[in-house]
Symmetry: C2
Subunit: 279 residues, 2 copies
DNA sequence: CGGATACTTGATGAGAATCAACCCGGGTGG
DNA sequence: CCACCCGGGTTGATTCTCATCAAGTATCCG
């Protein structure tokens, strides 16, 4: 396993013991460590399988640090690279002609950004870091040669593309729910699954994005997100303190997320009943 | 340029002269022609650039015919292949636990299906043909060797993945619009652009999907789609006869699509005004 | 012709967008 | 140190769109 020294390298494994004061997490420790990356570390971050990993050469790769609230690339900028998140979280968004910005996703560790700009001259979206982050940067020229020479990279990229398509599709599933609480519930469940697959606690986590960005991502008003949070909390499904979320009743949350169409009386009671009996 | 004999091979170039009776298009002509495909034809369908095309070998590829309303793969089925649309149109959808089916997209010529199943054991979605169609089928084993040996294929696949991500993102943009007419307008505009990029008329086309599927894709009720169609038509933006759509005022339609937030009076008047002055 | 399916149109109720006020923590500057 | 502002978050009141139910029309297929 390759070792890399980066201040934002490892997520805190013990999530349940984080202190809210630490969470904004801007300059924890000295941020002066030089950033060095290797191809095999990149492949590992991307989730390549073992066969590809051991074939990977130990060539250096450029690892760029992105400060909180800094933007990695902006919309309309000529697209000359793709970015793989090494650590941290981003928000990818598109601002339409009226200035309204629609958040497309929140890429985190292992996600590839700007994939959609590969066959376009300009970026269709912008990306800003929600916290201290670092990304592998692969410019077009290196991209070509890597696909040719590094056997595992092309495969890993295909897999990452596959995940990206899956993610975007999942987002449409979230937005397909008409009820606001259902959308939020689906989002939280997806986030929970992602946490679990990253080896973190699936029931207790800290959201890196604000209500506004979350609302934009889910396609509702930010006030509605606020209300939905208090709704879910009042039903005993979760406990929420600003951006810190603890899921109390996973099955109840799933039941709430299931209701594609509106819950008139029966389905609402069913959801509440499900939450009652599991509790 | 490779030549392939398939009854559904070429889209009718003269779109403005199609007759509605022909459109359901079920068994137009003898459907007995043997299906043969080649790698370079596949690459051309996928939109590979010239450099890759001339390097492509003329190896045979399996081309599968899919009848209208037949399903190419169903949800939960073990994923063993990807599919590239050679001709026709599909609907890709996901049915949730309540039986409600959410249409994720309408892949057409050159689109790759089941990309999201590449890194999963089972298909997360199902696909059924909306008309007589044909697809290139690439099983996992061939997929691996193709990526290794055919230099252009891996590149073409990366480009196709890029487009797929872009498509999915665009869908979220469509669904982000709150007003139903805006969603429909955005969908029609995207469809128009796609028509144009396929060399067909961007102002006059025939929708292959029903209101129900369209509504599901856009995240609204089918009745609302119906109403939105009549709304847009009554504003003089387009002329619609069942599934045949003719865009009369492209700029007006764009103005309608722009309104992210609801149009109270002024924006509605603006849209109508824009439509007036262009007409 | 009968049944089914697709599409349209109408009436009604409910949920959410919008406007607005308020609370709170953190930063800034006096 | 306090006053102040500011952005983020919560909550309330009101308007309005859309989902839903329902009925009607048209079209296709057997």
């Amino acid at each position: 396993m390759p070792s890399i020294q980066t201040s934002t390298n490892a997520m805190p494994q013990a999530v349940r013991s984080f202190s809210p004061a630490l969470m904004p997490g801007v300059p924890r420790g000295a941020s002066t460590s030089a950033l060095k990356g290797t191809l095999d570390d990149l492949l590992q971050v991307m989730g390549a399988d073992a066969a590809d990993l051991q074939r990977a050469a130990n060539v250096p790769m450029t690892l760029r640090r992105v400060h909180a609230k800094a933007q990695l690339f902006h919309e309309g900028q000529p697209s000359e690279a793709i970015y793989i998140v090494r650590a941290g979280t981003f928000k990818v968004y598109h601002t339409d002609e009226e200035g309204y910005e629609h958040v497309v996703g929140f890429p985190a560790q292992g996600d590839v950004m700007a994939l959609d700009a590969l066959n376009m001259p300009h970026h269709p979206t912008a990306a800003t870091a929600l916290e201290e982050s670092s990304v592998y940067l692969i410019v077009r020229r290196d991209f070509q040669s890597l696909c040719m020479n590094a056997p595992g990279f092309s495969r890993a990229l295909h897999m990452a593309s596959s995940r990206a398509v899956k993610r975007a599709t999942d987002l449409t599933h979230v937005m397909a729910a008409v009820a606001a609480e259902a959308r939020l519930a689906r989002f939280l469940l997806q986030h929970s699954e992602r946490m679990a697959s990253d080896g973190l606690s699936p029931r207790h986590f800290y959201l890196r994005m604000g209500r506004r960005d979350l609302a934009s991502n889910l396609g509702v008003a930010s006030e509605t997100i606020s209300r939905s949070f208090t709704m879910l909390a009042s039903w005993g499904l979760l406990k929420v303190a600003c951006r810190e979320v603890e899921i109390l009743d996973m099955d109840g949350l799933r039941a709430c997320a299931r209701s594609t169409r509106r819950q008139t009386d029966n389905t609402a009671d069913e959801a509440r009943a499900a939450q009652k009996l599991t509790h």
